[in-house]
Every structure is written in structure tokens, then in C-alpha cells.
Symmetry: C2
Subunit: 210 residues, 2 copies
């Protein structure tokens, strides 16, 4: 005998998620069968809510809850204590969360929702750069930090934006996140590009250290 259609549908739906194979999906299906109905259905509801309540922030394109009072604003943009003179540009909402979790940065963000990747056929026009330029028009921003990923596509994105922003807003400082040895790693296992970054970007101790 086979699983009934209802069970097979659920197994198929779970198997299509990242990191869940056929066996895990089966295990989850049997787990859900045993759970009290209310608990299992709360998972269904959570998925439903996700797809109906979450949208992008109308200012920075971070994830935000839909609001009945005007355009959606994310938690960062709503936070009055944020330093509004700095914008950190990231590729995805996930990157924003990682940077913000460090607790070192207190400015605003701008989420590109992608990157310049010639091999995937995406360029600046697929990103939310228009929105960023509008924000810069406001005149309040004094520094844009590029927090794109330290790889080929991230660097291409950075270079392309550096040109666009540099030409239109020469008064705004453009920086990027520091490259070098990742804390907690060992030099003997660092690869060539990491060491290359670490040597070229070596930091002077004379002013900071003493």
C-alpha cells in the first residue's frame, strides 16, 4: 500500500523545502499526525500569515509587517533613535539582520533585494537603487557604507553603485565594510584572497593603538 493522497501531498510539500529530504518530510508528516490538531494547524496559520502579512518596507525594502495606517515601515526605519546620517547598503534582509545583530551599527539600511550578477543576467535596474537615490536627495545622509558580500557579484554591485552615487552626490562619503582576516580563524588556513585583503588593507597602529 501507498500513503493516502493527503499524506503524500504533505510529504511532497515538505520535501520541496530547502534542507528537507524525503525521509525528513515523512518524519515530519508522522510527527504532525501525532500532534494535537491546534498545534499542527498553528504551523499552517503561520505560513498563511507570512504570505499575507509580510511585505517590504516602503523606505529601505527591509521586511516589514503590512500596516493598515499607510505604507509599511520596518522596525529600523520606525526607530527614532537611529542615526539618520548613515545608510548601510546590503543585498538581502538576512544581511541586514546579521549586521544589526552585531550591535556595532546604529544607522539606517537600504536593502537592494539582489545584486549585480552578469552571469544571472541581473544588473542595477533589477535592484532598489532608485529608492536609495531618492533617499540621498533628502540631503540628510552623510555616509553610505557598502555592505555587499565579499565575493565577485558583491564587488561588482559595489563598484557599479559607487559610480552612480559618486557622480550624483560627490559630498557623501562612500565606504565599504573592512576586509581581512576573519576573527577566530587561523592564518595558516586563510586562503590567498583573504591574505591579499589582509595585507593590502593593513591597519596602522600608530594612531589607534597608543
Amino acid at each position: 500500500m501507498q500513503y493516502t493522497t493527503t499524506i503524500q501531498n504533505l510529504i511532497d510539500a515538505f520535501s520541496s523545502l530547502p534542507g528537507i529530504g524525503a525521509r525528513s518530510a515523512e518524519r515530519i508528516a508522522f510527527h504532525l499526525l501525532k500532534l494535537p490538531s491546534e498545534e499542527a494547524l498553528s504551523l499552517a496559520r503561520a505560513i498563511h500569515d507570512l504570505k499575507t502579512r509580510i511585505t517590504h518596507c516602503s523606505v529601505c525594502y527591509n521586511l516589514a509587517e503590512l500596516s493598515s495606517e499607510g505604507p509599511a515601515l520596518c522596525e529600523v526605519c520606525r526607530d527614532a533613535r537611529r542615526d539618520r546620517s548613515t545608510i548601510c547598503v546590503v543585498e538581502q534582509p538576512k544581511d541586514l539582520l546579521a549586521i544589526d545583530a552585531s550591535g556595532t551599527y546604529h544607522g539606517l539600511y537600504h536593502v537592494l533585494l539582489g545584486r549585480v550578477a552578469p552571469l544571472d543576467g541581473t544588473d542595477e535596474s533589477d535592484l532598489t537603487i532608485g529608492g536609495l537615490l531618492e533617499r540621498l536627495e533628502g540631503g540628510e545622509v552623510r555616509e553610505v557604507i557598502f555592505g555587499t558580500n565579499p565575493n565577485l557579484d558583491g564587488d561588482l554591485t559595489l563598484l557599479s553603485m559607487q559610480k552612480t552615487i559618486g557622480e550624483r552626490f560627490p559630498g557623501i562619503a562612500l565606504t565599504r565594510l573592512a576586509r581581512g582576516l576573519a576573527a577566530g580563524t587561523q592564518i595558516e588556513y586563510a586562503n590567498r584572497s583573504v591574505l591579499d585583503d589582509a595585507i593590502r588593507g593593513r591597519q596602522s597602529l600608530s594612531t589607534e593603538g597608543r
Copy 2:
């Protein structure tokens, strides 16, 4: 910043599933955010259907779809080609599926929905043995095969049922699945209880082999 409540709820709901940790749950949440709404909601629907449409077979307690025409019957019990003189007793629907997938067994099943496990405080009264005894009353069954798991609880369940059934239905043959070396394994890695089973249960070649 933190995830919004809606996203955090979803991550929590997924983290509570077996085999899914916080990081995987996060990955799934972002995957669902990117999916077309229809696809993501079909997962929610599949969970809902599972909890509202699946029940236990009214005869053997296997999983079955709810039916509008009378009591639910599973695929095995509905199958007219099955040998109705043999019942294989298993602990869970999963065990039934595994045994049936082998294609060697063509009789009926009875799912106990548990096992005799003194440490968990479960005994015969927590199982579906009442239903099995009723089925045996019918007089059609000539053999009961115990397909409980080859471990302490499985053996306890088997012994306890062997007594109950043996006393009431002395005419019915009681057997259990063979114990011994698992096909495809190597004797040098077999543990003591496996070798013990294999030696005690050694099978005569004189009649079968020639």
C-alpha cells in the same frame, strides 16, 4: 532589530518540528517569503488537510482518509485481493508501510498504535488489542504474525499478546518475524544480540536447500 512577529512565529513553528533547528527554520522562512504565494499556501493547506482528513481505519487502525460513506477503511482493508486468513500485528502505521513495501506479505494488518513499555507507563490497555480480539472472534483468521520491533519493548508487547491470544484462540498459529543477521551487513560488525539470535534461530538447509 529582530524578526517581525509574523516571521518569528513561523520560525518558531518550524523549529519545533523534528530534525529542524533554528538555522534551518530561518532558511525555510526566507525560502517561503520568496516563493509565489500559491506555492507557499499549498503547504499550509496540506497541513490543514492532514489534520482534518486523516483518521485511523475502523478495522485495523492503519491511517485512512475520512469517508462520507460510513466508517473509514484503509487501503489494505479495502483491498479484496488480500489474504484474510493472516494478520500481521505492528506497532505503528510506519511499520506497516515498511513491511508492505517489501512486497512479500499479502495478508491483513493490525496496528497497535503503541507498545507495552513499562518505563513509559503504557500497557496492553493502551493498545488496540480489543479490536484485534474482535477480529479474531470472526473465525476467519488462521495465523497472527507478530511484527513488533526487535527490542525490549517490542518483545514485551509480543509476549503479553502471545499470552492473551494464545489462551483465547488456541487454534490460531502465532508466529513472529525472523531474527538473525540483517541482509547486507557483515558478521564481523554484528553485535552480540544479533549473533545470539542468528545462532539460536539457525535455519535447517536439509529440506529447503535441496
